[in-house]
Symmetry: C2
């Protein structure tokens, strides 16, 4: 500790939003350089290296081969797949001294595809799995939470190449098993959930989420085993209703009812139903946003959903990718005078098939025969008994309403529970999108050229440092699992007794020789400072050599459990070897 390049901080960094970020900065593992851009100090880099080593071992063990692509890439391949445009402002673009367009690689689908095309030509060469552990760049709109959402980050990305769908499925499953091994070794609590495939294209896709209250990803689980990222939940269409008995739609004045709640109250007071009171679920809320497309164009989108649900912005963003969602402001309302703010209604009222270019998509609950109270596109007025299919239609289904605890699982496996997690890994079946765009074909056994099908698999290595920290830390600091701890043992020499320091140094040397990584605190500092720092830094096992040494004992502390045991000084070396490599 007298030589290690580290300083612990007493205060939280001003920008720390989550515990892992706070502790990693305070314990001297990382330092911020710019928004979403961090430097690694020695302790942090040791954790990152350990995680990379675990990933590398398991990828090698599954037969994947390591390569490395540049981070600085030419525009052309990304032009061919349209991602130069589709990536929008998330892509760091630059020009070299000859004005050639370059980018900093956010993912490397194009490069892997072209590399395999360059080298391989026959079905005999497949299956193939390649990976790299490399620095990637994404100009996030909202970098946050330290390493959890950075703009420069380390990823393991891999790609599988197969002749047919069965091969892809097998490659996908091999990766899935490997990912389970990796996350098990990292000591993480995680779940595997169905996912959308994002801007990557492709079909089958799952995410590995580390459980964390501060996670950016919300997922659902059912007792019957359904598990999905909320973005990937697809609620089934509601059953059609028979609206034969519903009278014609009628417009009514609905003064002083700006909210769903007040509208429901007014409706029950002035226009009561026969069968039951109106609820929020009987109102059709129409939310309007602007979509900004990668080519720079903007189009309005209206979303109709029951008034008891909000639009989940993350589900909406995922659903409209690569377009971005922007607010529909006063300027937009001026440009679309048929839309009356607060009183937007569906077809024949300004939206949908008759809606002069405003696309109208509705929730799965909005099906033929359902009966709604909705805006009349006139200030202070609503329409009652507006029946879907009879009085209005939509341009399609868009399932972006918030998912709630207790909602039924789409597969009928019971009520859903919501939880949050950090996306640690993502595996998906890309299919032939990139191989098609870039012409990756091989000869099949019959001598016919066929397009290769690909899978794409990622693990955020730098994010994993923060995810493990987040998953395991407590109110005193970091708590590293043994597999990723920067040092195995934190050895504290306390007091001023020369014999204590001599013993600690000898023990440190013995452990070192036995392959145990020891962090020796030999500073001239009070025991309290050393104890606090040891808890903050989070090595799994600490050994305190202090006054007890005169009586032949030292103390061994487990960071995770807080357990403290006194061990005979003569036995502590063997004791530690046992703790670190438990028999069996």
């Amino acid at each position: 500790m007298t030589e290690l390049f580290v300083r612990t901080l007493r205060d939280d960094p001003a920008d720390a939003e989550v515990p892992s970020h706070r502790w990693l900065v305070r314990a001297g593992y990382i330092r911020r350089v710019a928004p979403g851009i961090y430097s690694w100090l020695p302790l942090g880099l040791r954790v990152l290296h350990k995680i990379e080593a675990i990933v590398r071992e398991e990828m090698d063990a599954m037969g994947a081969q390591e390569v490395r692509f540049p981070a600085l890439l030419p525009r052309e391949p990304y032009e061919q797949t349209n991602r130069w445009t589709e990536y929008g402002p998330n892509l760091f673009r630059l020009q070299d001294r000859k004005r050639a367009d370059l980018l900093l690689g956010p993912t490397h689908e194009e490069m892997f595809t072209l590399m395999v095309k360059d080298l391989y030509s026959s079905y005999k060469d497949l299956p193939l799995a390649l990976y790299q552990i490399q620095t990637k760049y994404r100009d996030e709109a909202r970098p946050r939470a330290g390493l959890l959402r950075g703009r420069e980050f380390v990823m393991k990305d891999s790609y599988s190449f197969d002749l047919d769908d069965a091969g892809l499925e097998a490659s996908y499953q091999r990766h899935r098993v490997t990912y389970q091994r990796i996350f098990d070794r990292l000591g993480l609590e995680y779940v595997i959930v169905s996912a959308t495939s994002g801007a990557m294209g492709g079909s089958a896709s799952e995410e590995f989420l580390a459980l964390a209250d501060i996670g950016e990803d919300t997922f659902v689980r059912s007792p019957g085993g359904y598990a999905a990222n909320v973005e990937a939940v697809r609620r089934p269409l509601a059953e059609k209703q028979d609206a034969a008995g519903v009278g014609p739609a009628h417009r009514e004045d609905t003064p002083d009812s700006p909210t769903i709640e007040s509208l429901v109250a007014l409706s029950n007071a002035r226009f009561p139903r026969d069968d039951r009171p109106w609820t929020a679920a009987d109102t059709l809320k129409n939310v309007i946003v602007m979509l900004s497309h990668p080519d720079g164009s903007r189009t309005p989108l209206a979303i109709g959903l029951p008034g008891d649900r909000e639009v989940d912005m993350k589900r909406l963003e995922a659903a409209v990718e690569p377009a971005e969602v922007q607010p529909f402001g006063d300027a937009e309302f001026e440009a679309y005078p048929q839309l009356v703010k607060g009183y937007i209604g569906p077809a024949a009222l300004g939206l949908g098939e008759d809606g002069e270019g405003v696309a109208y998509l509705t929730d799965p609950a909005v099906v033929e025969g359902t009966r709604w109270i909705t805006g009349a596109n006139e200030p202070g007025r609503h329409v009652y008994d507006l029946v879907c299919g009879r009085d209005f239609t939509s341009d399609g289904v868009l399932d972006v309403a918030e998912i709630r605890d207790g909602d039924p699982a789409p597969d009928g496996s019971g009520p859903l529970t919501l939880a949050r997690g950090i996306e640690m890994g993502h595996i998906f079946q890309l299919g032939r999108k990139y191989a098609d765009a870039l012409g990756l074909k091989v000869l099949d056994p019959n001598g016919k050229l066929v397009t290769v099908t690909m899978g794409s698999y990622g693990i955020g290595c730098s994010r994993a440092v923060a995810a493990v920290a987040e998953n395991t830390c407590d109110e005193k600091g970091l708590v590293w699992p043994r597999n990723v701890a920067p040092y195995d043992v934190h050895l504290l020499a306390t007091g001023k007794d020369a014999a204590v320091f001599a013993f600690a140094e000898e023990l440190s040397a013995r452990l070192d020789a036995a392959g145990v990584a020891v962090l020796l605190d030999d500073r001239k500092a009070s025991p309290g400072v050393k104890f606090n720092d040891a808890e903050l830094l989070g090595m799994p096992t600490a050994v305190v050599v202090g006054r007890g040494l005169a009586d032949g004992v030292v103390e061994v502390r487990e960071r995770a459990s807080g357990e403290k045991v006194e061990v005979a000084a003569d036995d502590v070396f063997e004791h530690l070897l046992e703790v670190l490599h438990p028999a069996g």
Copy 2:
């Protein structure tokens, strides 16, 4: 070999300028993505990883601590040291989505300095040595020779931090010894030469050059032990002459003498000297260039040197850094009408003190009392007996004439020999330039704030892959030293005999279990193809299992020496262990 992601090429790549580049591409180690930007295939990456591991081990052994900075960096720190501007077009600059200026780090002096300032405050914390192994970016005007001069490359850079000059000298020497260990382990032939410090600032500086005819760096050596990069050679000033007997300068018509040679011939014919014939060394050649400064301004510079020497452009470029040298073209001659192309002459003729803003610097041979034939700034005329100090002066000394074999060493240690090399490492004493600019001070033992003094030390890791290849390859392909070879043994199973393949596979498995990295060629290919590939790929030892196996023998080949020995099949495992880990 049936599974390894590699394909050997029969033809040289079109852009291959040097052997290492040709072989690394043909053997499937690297692939070009854009000018100066390469991807690593599995074999190449294994070599890079081995080199990085050697560098890491030796840096750790000397007590340096590993950190890692981002490649994507904010502008501000580079603004504070003026390098944002000084780096000129070599710096990759970009903006993020918020229009903040960013750069891709070419070197990290600023970041290391700020990090130490952030953490440390006392002399007790020093000395300190930090390093990183990281990807760097430089927008080279002329990327060339594959990995030798790239735009994205991997470097180990380290920095030392000391309280005083003696500490810096000690840190510098520790690095020097460590670098010798590293380059010895890489199996490189190298020399250590004095160097200029380039755009980094600072004083004492040495380069480690791998000997290579195709190297970009020219260096000189003397029998007495002098060794310097040509850019760093400083020739001593010539001795002053007594020009008392030289008559006044006189202008003469010198028709048809556009070259130094023809001028000398004409001078001997029409204006002979009494004592000896005129030689080229009696003429004063005035070379004029434009300097382009980092701030965008341009100024002319005239260089006067004896007519028997050329200006060495690399020495000139190094001398005027960070300005860049540009040609003085017709447009420039129009702007400076006092300069007559081909007949430029010194002061009172348009240059130097009287030269209306054209700086005039002269060679160390041009000293007081020396007598010259030079241009008269009139077409077809020259001046004779123009005496330095009497008839003209210069604005200073500029030693940028080419160095030639046989020139005396500046330290009197004998005649110089010229040779070429690849810059593998650079160590130099930065001093306080960055600490001053960024305010890195610590309290000394007396409680006084003192500015820290720094050293800067670099090794090109990706360049080392090419340098080792260049240093060792032959006309058949790559020849890796054992320490950096991607595999220890290349095991070739030839023919179609199942027993051969079975033996080879068993041997491969045994070697593998013994920690020997084996590349097994189990392809269905002719022995000739396999032999050629083995020579191209360049593993240090090859084992050929073929027809001889029936008689109980296999062949072991050494790639470097070409030596082939027959070994009993039963003994080959032990034989190989002995070859790979020779006793002692």
